[in-house]
Symmetry: C2
Subunit: 491 residues, 2 copies
């Protein structure tokens, strides 16, 4: 096991980095900006991916796979898109290395220069819409509802494991529709899929909203988002869904014949979540002892640790634990029985706390006599004694309770860290004291948004979809406003 | 639906390309050498991936993820590896584009040149062993049993969909062991996992063997392989598993303390299969009408097509079909009921034949009266009438029968196309007439192997693991040989 973590209060950012590494989730690689996702971290991501994939299929989507490389010229076809994405990207210029005859070193072969450079995809709208052109002739070919699980690269100078890395894993949905209304409906539908996933699986409450113009995806008409709140009072954008209008259809000349035979440009949406969700999951629930995982996504939901003095006791405990383990497994619960005799129980307790296993069961010689077990919850650290007989029912219910409790706890935190303010002084004071979401009136201009950002580092996270109409005055300019928006400092 | 396919007899290679495109499996992208895997093709790949992933986990492996990019210098650390892989690869030299002030065009920013070029991974031994160095201190850290699902890039000039593309999807297992015996055992174990998958899921018989030295993976001590035979008599390497010795441990200085405290280099294996398996699957079973899919991997196992004259009939048929569909679905069978009223039944029949759906059920007004259905097998094209009552049992059994039949059929084909020869004239004559595997004695030298290759285009596919000891003479040099090896022309 690892060293004690720096506490959140002492240094939140350090706590996060140490936790990610000590809990064996990920590490920096020697390749600048790229991470290695370790088996335990990847197992959590796999669980997330499998659930999301099922939700996408249930809403009518199919998976496909498009090329990693995008010709440089594609990036320029949509004016805003190129501004947003061409700047910091990995550029492939050559297709061969050779051994230098003089030095014997391996060098780039100057004769193998590409005619047109290739960009490692930062997102795939351009290559996909270039392909859709040949797939779409008439309204009968629509809608196209496709998703892709892939790696993408955005060159980042300042990286943080999971939150901001040059290469990351994600899914990107790309859909094509005959009408504007249908494309908007799709973008909103997928936003709700993301929100449902965040709340029901990650136990992480999110605000569903729409971005201000300056925070929009490059090339979108509207960007919907889910915004979560981390324990340090900073917001984290956990997923986005874009209504792309006809921008990419126009850039790549994708038209369809409608029922009357008239040629129209196709309407589009795109939507994505990434391994950034791992960062959100970690920061929403974890504590100074380590990771806290919602049971629904935990690779190990229940761990069993025997406490013994000799081999005979160990054998007897192992037999009992295997019995209970079989009953739990039959209920679909993911169990690990840890019989490793090179580690002490205390070490194991700390290790599984660090790894965020929701329920720990300990069993010693006295338990053998009494037919009992000791059950510890990771979320509240409460312990209780249980009879082994029928324990599987109690543990199953406990896992559900932990899942619920984590959601309640994070919802309560968010409620306590969402503040309505009505003037700029109060705004700054809240931001600098407790942080969190600050709900305030804004005059709707990019200028005001930019000034507030420069002066306070807070950005408009979103205009909540459920924001109620309310007459007010912009906290910065005093100009009239009809609804509150959410500000926060953000990851 | 598509045009009639070129027949296999007329032009096998053209047949393959047309089939892949018309059955909506994949297409070339505008990015040289990269393919787009379309939803139907991807659904088959997903099925393959899910089965393999389960088999890997059942044999104790965990998934992880390593960076896409490999620093150029890593490639040079293992002498043979760099020879094999550094030659044709995608090289990232810059990390930014910019808008040229004069022309307004997007160009590579010369100020954003990387200090060290990055290679897009052609395989990940180097980056993974560079990481393992920090994961391994003592024998307690071993074995490491990790697999990665990823995209890789090997610059290819002549590409063929699925069989040879610049970018492809694959899995690569990378394991680290304390002893040579354990690493060899692992390489062999995974070879058998691949063979089991090929035979039981793809219904494709394979020869398990070991490669001659010149066909070995660059950096391996031994390469095990499974070799399949396609319908045109050419062999296809369907999967490889490498015993890497201590080559990568030495190149990346990965040592461990054994139980006595002595420092030793770690032993390694690596193993992989790729989207190339899609090509193997297609070419093993398909016919001039289109794809033939083994039921276990078919995205749609049963399709139902109504035959009707009016809406009333359609509604009645739809109700009956939904009933049967529910019963089949309850058995875990993947069913599609095709009620699309813009397409005629004849069109649909041809379309699902092209797509290789194993079982087609048709139902017309007379069937409604009689409580019957018509069932057609894709593999033999036989049709039979069935009572709807209890049909789900018959269909379930039929799917198993089709799976078996495909394996028997391809096994028989292979038996008929495996020929023992004892002299070089016969060798050439067999190769040029019926093709297939040619089993012959070889003197074990790379020179002879190379000469035979140059003269006949046949390579040694493998030395079968079950090759029996037998005294013989090399067909080329007459030198003594103790076992037969398998030659073939290959993909």
């Amino acid at each position: 096991m690892a060293n004690k973590l720096t506490s959140r209060a002492e240094d939140y950012s350090k706590w996060y980095n140490e936790l990610v590494m000590q809990a064996d989730l990920a590490q920096h690689s020697e390749v600048k900006g790229c991470m290695v996702i370790k088996p335990y971290g990847y197992a959590i991501w796999e669980n997330m991916r499998d659930v999301l994939d099922k939700m996408f299929k249930e809403t009518g989507h199919q998976n496909a796979y498009f090329p990693l490389f995008i010709p440089k010229s594609y990036m320029s076809k949509e004016a805003k898109h190129v501004e947003g994405f061409a700047k910091e990207c990995a550029v492939v210029t050559h297709y061969r290395l050779k051994t230098d005859e003089l030095t014997g070193e391996v060098v780039v072969d100057p004769d193998a220069k590409l005619e047109e450079e290739l960009i490692v995809r930062p997102t795939s709208e351009t290559i996909i819409w270039n392909t859709y052109r040949n797939w779409i002739q008439s309204y009968r070919d629509l809608p196209i509802l496709i998703n892709q699980w892939a790696n993408v690269v955005r060159w980042e100078m300042r990286t943080r494991l999971f939150l901001r890395t040059a290469e990351f894993l994600w899914q990107e949905g790309h859909t094509a529709h005959a009408t504007k209304a249908e494309a908007i409906e799709e973008s909103e539908k997928m936003l709700h899929v993301y929100a449902k996933f965040a709340e029901e699986w990650m136990a992480m409450p999110v605000i569903r909203g729409v971005k201000s113009e300056s925070e929009r995806f490059a090339g979108a008409e509207d960007t919907y988002c889910i915004e979560a709140l981390m324990q340090d009072g900073k917001a984290l954008q956990a997923g986005t869904s874009h209504f792309l209008g006809q921008n990419f259809a126009k850039a790549f000349d994708v038209k369809f014949a409608d029922k009357t035979g008239k040629m129209e440009y196709v309407w589009a949406s795109s939507w994505g979540v990434s391994t950034r969700l791992m960062g959100a999951l970690i920061m929403t629930h974890s504590d100074d002892e380590g990771l806290v995982l919602p049971p629904k996504l935990a690779p190990i939901q229940v761990v069993m640790v025997p406490i013994y003095k000799n081999d005979e006791q160990l054998a007897a405990l192992a037999a009992k634990m295997d019995e209970l383990s079989a009953k739990l497994t039959a209920k679909g619960i993911r169990v690990k029985v840890d019989l490793d005799d090179t580690k002490k129980p205390g070490w194991k307790f700390a290790e599984y706390e660090l790894k965020g296993v929701p329920v720990r069961i300990a069993m010693g010689p006295r338990d053998l006599e009494n037919g009992s077990i000791e059950v510890a919850r990771r979320d509240t650290k409460e312990k209780m004694a249980l009879q082994m007989e029928g324990a599987e029912e109690v543990i199953e219910a406990l896992l559900n309770k932990i899942q619920e409790n984590l959601f309640l706890r994070s919802s309560e935190f968010r409620t306590n860290h969402t503040t309505e303010v009505n003037d700029y002084d109060e705004f700054k004071q809240v931001l600098n004291s407790k942080g969190g979401f600050v709900s305030a009136h804004w005059d709707g201009t990019a200028e005001t948004e930019e000034k507030i950002k420069q002066e306070t580092k807070a950005t408009i996270r979103c205009i909540p979809l459920d924001a109620k109409e309310e007459e007010g005055k912009c906290i910065y300019t005093g100009a009239p406003s009809s609804k509150r928006v959410l500000f926060a400092k953000a990851y």
